[in-house]
């Protein structure tokens, strides 16, 4: 079979959309897709009657404000070193961000993996090292492996603040709430590598929404979109996988086993979506000593949106970034108001960086240095 070019795929999509003769609304679940769709220019090639809605798949954006505040409180402790992915550092909380805390002298270290945090703990036995464990099934296995490593090495000054989230329960919660019309889901390749394509079966079976797993290359995303649009045109709802080179039906069993050994699904608070049953990960009993909440006797406080920020609606696909009054005015990547503008995977940041929004506010185009 000869390879279909992006141009041909775009034509086929346009054709399928015009045949459906209505607006089709697809949700790309994950922030990585959101960014890739913009960065690759794919978004600019799609017909107007095809709406791509960004979903709740940006790890930083779905993290509740209560979590951010708990992390900031921990950072304020003399004996604590916070290890975190870079994106988390600038999210504004009730009393400023981790970046502010660092400026005040808090020990906040940007790491690239959970393992780095374990190594840091091993090298600094006098510090209590807390890793901000956020992300979906892409990062959770790595956190689990880090906890296992710390246990095996007898490292007792390593803790995690688990904000891990699961993708499927969030999709179910969105559909159950029913206030956002969605015709189908473009499902993320990297999460699916771990959870397997079959994980989406409940979405297809219980809610009748087609799901197509795709990678992040332009051809992959276009193919995924085409398959969705064709299914919708025919009134079908099936599970398809156009990324079978990397994603199997079962997923990465070893990674999942590691995750299941360390974590147990638990209720979790999502930004603006509230508590979703079984949508987070909590350390299992034997690993409780690694739980920062347990060790420091903390609780995650209430969730809220920064004043004026509509991130909560953005991550549920209820509004698009430019419907937020602050977008590109008070809120820019240089001075973000909400997490959707902070995170490199955030929908607002992607719109701002790659969309044609400059005309709206010339001042924002000024050189930042």
């Amino acid at each position: 079979m000869s390879k279909t070019t992006p141009r041909q795929l775009v034509e086929q999509i346009a054709d399928a959309v015009s045949r459906a003769d209505r607006t089709i609304r697809l949700m790309e679940v994950c922030g990585t897709h959101t960014v890739a769709l913009f960065r690759s220019g794919v978004k600019s090639l799609l017909p107007n009657a095809l709406r791509l809605i960004s979903g709740p798949g940006c790890p930083v954006c779905v993290t509740s404000q209560g979590y951010i505040d708990a992390a900031c409180d921990l950072a304020g402790r003399e004996d604590v070193t916070i290890c975190t992915y870079g994106d988390m550092v600038r999210v504004p909380g009730r009393r400023g961000s981790l970046e502010h805390r660092r400026a005040e002298g808090a020990d906040v270290l940007v790491v690239y993996s959970a393992r780095d945090a374990v190594s840091h703990a091993a090298a600094h036995p006098d510090r209590k090292v807390v890793f901000l464990a956020v992300g979906f099934e892409t990062t959770a296995p790595a956190t689990a492996a880090a906890v296992l490593e710390a246990e095996a090495k007898g490292i007792t000054n390593f803790f995690i603040l688990s904000g891990h989230k699961l993708v499927i329960p969030a999709m179910q919660a969105l559909l159950s709430a029913g206030d956002v019309p969605i015709d189908g889901f473009l499902c993320p390749g990297h999460v699916s590598v771990v959870i397997g394509a079959n994980a989406y079966a409940p979405i297809v079976e219980q809610y009748g929404k087609p799901c197509v797993v795709a990678g992040f290359e332009p051809e992959q995303m276009l193919k995924g979109i085409l398959h969705l649009v064709r299914q919708i045109g025919r009134g079908e709802s099936r599970l398809e996988n156009v990324y079978s080179a990397a994603v199997t039906n079962e997923g990465n069993v070893a990674a999942r086993r590691c995750m299941e050994q360390v974590f147990v699904p638990a209720d979790s608070i999502w930004r603006a979506m509230g508590t979703i049953p079984g949508s987070g990960l909590e350390l299992r009993e034997p690993f409780r000593p690694f739980d920062a909440l347990v060790h420091f006797g903390l609780a995650i406080g209430p969730d809220y949106d920064p004043p004026g920020c509509r991130c909560g609606e953005v991550i549920q696909g209820k509004v698009e970034p430019d419907q937020c009054n602050l977008f590109a005015r008070q809120c820019t990547p240089a001075a973000p108001v909400g997490p959707c503008m902070v995170s490199s995977e955030g929908t607002c940041a992607a719109w701002y960086k790659y969309g044609r929004i400059q005309a709206k506010s010339p001042s924002t185009q000024a050189r930042s240095s």
Binding site: S119, E219, R356, Q358
Partner: protein
């Protein structure tokens, strides 16, 4: 290991034993309060830059090479022939002398490569924890080439944009070498003095209107700034931008946009459309310009914006990155 001391004796020994033997030349040798240089050119280009980098040594270079090349390149892209540099080194107590020697050797090698002299210098040793290992400031002077008339105001729609080689190598190499990064790549920094390459570009006779090296902020930062300055649109083609497979793959892995990643040995030139081929040929004839390419053009599309025509045939805006671009979470 370097000890901390205010005494002149330590500084004197540092200079006599570590710096002078490696950097010796007729201007520096007298160790006077000022270097005295011969001067003939009508116009003088003068620039300065301070350099910090972690780690001090990284694949393909180190802070010393970076400090020499950075200033040489600033002079070269301004159309000047670099002549002499000053070198001010602030070192942190505890810096291994072996590392210091390697870095001075590297400074000497880069200066020789760029054919400039370190004409004057200064060293200070600061307390541990107050100097980031080493901080280097270099200033440089050069004489303006008369064969070039660089002026952004001469840029017009239709002008072509030439990039002299592979992007993103420096930023990704440093990032992958930085302590704690859980992956390793074969990437090496592209840090290199550009004056030789630019000499050939100037000699080609092409009507070059503008040159700059895309360092921090990457190609995206350079283009976004230029767009604001000239109030004209810039259109670049993703397929035309030279990038290695490794760099593309690494950037993808980290969730970074390669056009926003730093370079230290590349030059972007805006050239009259009819001279683009000539300029490209001149670039490719130089070892540092083998992968040069025409990556885009100036247009009069309003409002002024930098746009990329992507691999997939779509379009997207290119903007200056905000602060340091950090690897994504998943």
């Amino acid at each position: 290991m370097l000890a901390h001391g205010g005494g002149g004796e330590l500084t004197g020994r540092l200079i006599a034993e570590h710096f002078l033997p490696r950097l010796r030349n007729q201007w520096l040798e007298p160790l006077g309060d000022s270097a005295v240089l011969p001067w003939t050119s009508s116009a003088l280009a003068f620039t300065t830059d301070s350099h910090v980098v972690q780690p001090l040594e990284f694949p393909g270079g180190d802070i010393g090479r970076l400090a020499v090349c950075g200033t040489v390149n600033d002079l070269a892209v301004a159309g000047a022939v670099p002549l002499a540099l000053s070198l001010a080194v602030i070192m942190e107590e505890g810096l291994p002398l072996k590392v210091l020697d390697r870095i001075i050797d590297s400074i000497a090698a880069a200066a020789a490569e760029a054919n400039v002299s370190i004409a004057t210098g200064d060293t200070k040793v600061v307390e541990r924890g107050r100097g980031d290992g080493m901080i280097i400031n270099t200033a440089g002077v050069g004489s303006l080439r008369e064969s070039l008339s660089l002026d952004k105001r001469r840029i017009i729609p239709g002008d072509a944009m030439v990039l002299t080689g592979l992007i993103a190598e420096h930023g990704l190499a440093v990032m992958s070498a930085r302590e704690g990064l859980a992956f390793q790549t074969a990437l090496r920094s592209d840090v290199a003095p550009l004056n030789g390459l630019i000499e050939q570009m100037a000699a080609s006779g092409a009507d070059i209107r503008f040159m700059r090296d895309p360092t921090r902020g990457g190609l995206a930062g350079l283009l976004a700034d230029l767009c604001v300055d000239i109030r004209l649109s810039i259109e670049i083609e993703e397929t035309a931008i030279p990038i290695s497979r490794t760099a593309r793959h690494t950037a993808e892995l980290l969730g970074l946009d390669p056009v926003t990643v730093a370079n230290e040995g590349k030059c972007v030139a805006v050239v009259a459309a009819e001279d683009a081929g000539k300029l490209l040929e001149a670039c490719r004839a130089h070892p540092l310009g083998r992968q040069a390419a025409i990556i885009g053009r100036i247009t009069d599309a309003a409002p002024p914006i930098v746009e990329m025509i992507t691999d997939a045939g779509g379009r997207r805006v290119v903007q200056r990155p905000y602060g340091e671009e950090l690897p994504r979470i998943c």
